[in-house]
């Protein structure tokens, strides 16, 4: 079995994902695929890509579902990837030390050289975030683009996970959730960011922001309501008004 870092990390890097603005375009999913198919966990093998059952490795998948009934319900687009848990059972179940959580920033990674493909980690992860590469025989997962975020060959502004860089509605945010003053922590505080399945006590680093319920503007029906006004009287009202060209 593998140990988690003894001390909680000084930095807890992760994502804050806004379910209020995710439109389900899959930009995060394919941008992730595109970056990571050539990154530190490369390849992200696709099997039978033009056949009856195309099936590949994706670190980020977007699910769509409905909540509630009829018009009162909602359609939710829910991007799912590794949450880089504080209490990462995928690490503690790993028999070889292949799965580990970095002490310096909390990112959970897989050392493929040590992975024996036993899949215990994927059974341990309640979020379904692990991805087994059948062709390679090893487990893979979201790296939080560790090879981007520290990459000194990239411009500072580009040192973010590919999914965050891509998101057209700005629904994905990256930062240090251990720093209460960080932009992501402030977002979580302001918007009621929540943990997925907190009752399991995996203490995910990534947070989700709930849909905002924008109240309708205080709807004062213009003038009195509708039928009280006689259409014919409108012309008399308007005829004396003076407008300018």
């Amino acid at each position: 079995m593998t140990s988690l870092p003894e001390q909680p990390a000084q930095r807890r890097l992760g994502l804050v994902i806004d379910l209020d603005t995710c439109v389900g375009c899959h930009a995060c999913a394919t941008s992730c695929k595109e970056w990571n198919m050539g990154g530190v966990a490369a390849p992200l093998t696709d099997l039978d890509p033009y056949g009856a059952k195309p099936d590949g490795v994706w670190f980020n998948r977007v699910h769509g579902f409905e909540a509630g009934e009829g018009g009162a319900g909602r359609t939710v687009h829910f991007p799912r990837s590794c949450l880089h848990c504080e209490n990462a059972a995928c690490v503690t179940v790993c028999p070889t030390g292949a799965s580990y959580k970095r002490a310096e920033d909390g990112i959970v990674l897989v050392n493929e050289d040590l992975c024996i493909g036993c899949k215990l980690c994927s059974w341990a992860c309640p979020y379904g975030a692990r991805e087994f590469d059948e062709a390679e025989g090893v487990m893979k997962k979201c790296t939080l683009c560790v090879d981007r975020i520290y990459n000194e060959t990239l411009a500072e502004a580009d040192r973010k996970p590919a999914c965050v860089m891509a998101c057209p509605t700005g629904a994905r945010h990256f930062g240090d959730l251990a720093d209460e003053g960080s932009e992501v922590s402030r977002l979580v505080a302001a918007r009621g960011g929540f943990d997925l399945m907190p009752e399991l006590d995996y203490r995910p680093t990534n947070k989700y922001l709930p849909p905002r319920m924008n109240a309708s503007p205080a709807a004062v029906p213009p003038a009195a309501a509708g039928e009280a006004i006689r259409p014919e009287s409108k012309f008399l009202q308007w005829v004396d008004r003076l407008f300018s060209r």
Binding site: S3, T21, G24, C25, H26, A27, C28, T30, E34, M37, G38, G39, V40, T45, D46, P49, Y50, G51, A52, P54, D55, G56, G64, E66, G70, G71, G73, V76, G97, Y100, L109, L114, V146, D147, Y150, T153, M165, A166, C167, P168, G170, A171, R212, M213, N214, S216, P217, P221, P222, A223, A225, P231, K234, Q237, W238, V239, R241, F243, S244, R245
Partner: protein
Amino acid sequence: MAQHRIDLSSRVSDEVKTTTCYMCACRCGIKVHLKDGALRYIEGNRDHPVNRGVICGKGASGLMKQFSPAKLRKPLLRVGERGESRFREIEWDEALGIATEWLGRIRASDPKRLAFFTGRDQSQALTGWWAQMFGTPNYAAHGGFCSVNMAAAGLYSIGGSFWEFGEPDFEHTRYFMMFGVAEDHASNPIKIGIGKLKGRGARFVSVNPVRTGYSAVADEWIGIRPGTDGLFVLSLIRELLLADQVDFAYLARYTNAPWLVIQDEGAADHGLFARDSQGRPLLWDAALGELADAMRPETKPALVGHYRLADGRRAVPVFQLLAERYLSPDYAPEKVAPIIGIPAESVRRIAAELAQAAFRGEIRIEQPWTDWAGRRHDHMIGRPVSFHAMRGISAHSNGFHTCRAIHLLQMLLGSVDVPGGFRFRPPFPRPIPPAIKPAGPAAAGQSLKGPPLGFVQAPADLLVDEAGEALRIDKAYSWEAPLAAHGLMHMVIANAHAGDPYPIDTLMMFMANMSWNSSMNVPGTIDMLTAKDPASGEYRIPRIIYSDAFFSEMVAYADLVLPDTTYLERHDCISLLDRPISDADGPADAIRQPIVRPDRDVRPFQDVLLDLGARLGLPGMVDGEGRPKYPGGLADYMVNHERKPGLGMLAGFRGAGGQAKGLGAPNPHQIEAYVANGCFWHDELPHEARYYKHVNRRYLDYAVAMGFIDRAEPVVLQLYSEPLQTFRLAAEGHGECQPPARHRARIRTFFDPLPIWYPPFEEQDSNAGEFPLHAITQRPMIMYHSWDSQNAWQRQIISSNRIYLARTLGERLGIADDDWIRITSRQGSVRAQAKLMEGVNPDTIWTWNAIGKRAGAWNLAADAPEATKGFLLNHLIPEFQSGEGTAAPLSNSDPVTGQAAWYDLKVRIEKCLPDEAGTTDPLFAPLAPPPGLPERAARIDFGRRFRPGSK
């Protein structure tokens, strides 16, 4: 624990090239990273005005388009029967020789016997000009089955349109209403905008029978009954008028609300504007009590009342007619509620919310500006309500009027090109309608006298013969579809097959999957493509030339296939003369540059077109000696071609030194300048020119200097459309050019100068008892417009489609999730697997568009889910109205514009028998791959080569 050594600072790429995305029609700026000469990854270009650095799910799948095994490899000549997909590979010289021979013969005899239709390409500035030079009026792109209702309604009303020609002011709007499916165009700008406005707490209301896509994040979803949006909007207008919640000052200043309309029933000018001797429209100056030039500033126009003209006849202001019509109880919320499926109280509340946001929420920007008349204003007033609409409105036979109704609502709220409202993207606004008119057929060996597509202003501009019958193969600009500004591509095959109005010789098409998801009545279309004349044994459509980069379903029906390149292999020109990529803050255009070299014997279609033009000796494509004028292909043309002196394909970096913009001499280094600038050019308007563009002196002067408009005259927004009235008058027996008897009643009804609502034609054509349900499609954001390669990543996200229906409907009909059901229309029947859901109008079923593929096409396995379970609603959509008892049925189109009425479809559904379950039906015979197509990869893992530390 062993140390896991990972290289965190591995060099990502050794070369980064910018270009323009083409995974859909949005045209974002991208940066393509190459490592060791291979494509590594594609990201958004932060500097680009369209996407500001973001990229969508399609754009980030671009690599897989490049790696598609469906890429055509060499020109192909048919050897079997059409549709058998049997070809032999030929050399380019032979292919171009054949095409030159076919086309040369046509041009020398009767040029209109070439029908040249391009699909969803973005090279219409070239292809339209080529058709003009060739001499065939039978040219259009795919706009007739896509966007023409939106384009025409906008350009005849406000001088711009939704589509890609304008945008909501996402920075300032407080209330945003989106109508129908809109996940198709301006993909990333709208997503960026929705993110922004929701972040600011603005309210987003989505009107769509289906709650997916953008509707999923709307604050309010209105599950309207399909095809009734126009009635909903007119009811909103009634409520606003009743409550006095319209912007009278805006109407008086910037619209034709005060223009006087002649009231002389039966006269040849009834319903036209009263004009002075110079032809200037008149208004009634209420302060002076006299007629006045409506274009004169500082008058005090009356908006209502009845006035006498100099000749003693009666006239009333436009606003009087408008108010009389829409105050009618016919538009009362209670009256419309049962039709639109929205409770009356919701209609009232939304009207109130609009008024609240527009007027109580008025914003003021401390930005001085000068209007067209030279009057200085020290600030800009904003009405922060905005609207967007696209396919959901467009694809109905009442879409033109519905779109006009939305524009009317915008004008009444004073929210056209004001802060917080809808904003024009330059080169719009344009004069209403734009001055360019469509040109009719040319004599043998001659070019057209003007471009084949344009805007008619009156019946005399129609392309009809002396009997009033169509001169174009698609019957655009005939009495069937007078304002068909984009042509009617969806009718070309049916009309050519029928020889109505005449037979053609060659159909040449580019990127148009007309034997599959781009046609109505697919089985019937396939029959027409393969039908032979029994007497001669020749095909009814004798020759088909087709260009595509991929093995699409249409390839199998071509006689000669000219294989195109991918978007990463060629130059392209995203021109202001075509479909601009400007934003509201300034005009923009862009290019594509080749990122990688093709690994097969293919050529860019636009280069091929210029080559063919030179071989045919077409004017403008050869020099005085008959040598090719643009031997460098499109890259040569887009730099050196001039439409008129100084006006070329690209507006940026013109002039000898590259310093000129808009107008300027060709710059031999223009492409280098674009590449150095990220493959785009964007000009920032000065702040005082950014709103009120239709009447803003600074903007209008700028637009003239740039060559966008000819004169710096105000664009008066047209609530009341005089061109429509001229058609109505013709139908009433006035004027030189009158419709044949069978069209008179239609023209009279549908050319109402004020927006009307009528039930979509299929409501009348399909017996409501027999076909009680509406059937429509939605646009899958991950696939829309990029299904032309069935790329390996996108198809992992969606490779088959379900038919979705309301849970309540399913329960009533005994249909459960996963059941197979049969969907039947008056045209045909298709089998699909059901999925029940909550967020759908209870009388509507829907599916994702264009997921179904024909077995064997796209080099997919024959048992791919796209073919076995994926299906098209196209099979059910008739291309003609039922037209009982008439010799020549009308196309299934909007009667004003000819826009294909895809979403009018009415159906019934029933559960299949158990032995029918498992696959879709009809299942078409699998297509054999053309020669040369590679084996499909069983595995994709080429990214391994990029892994840091890998050798």
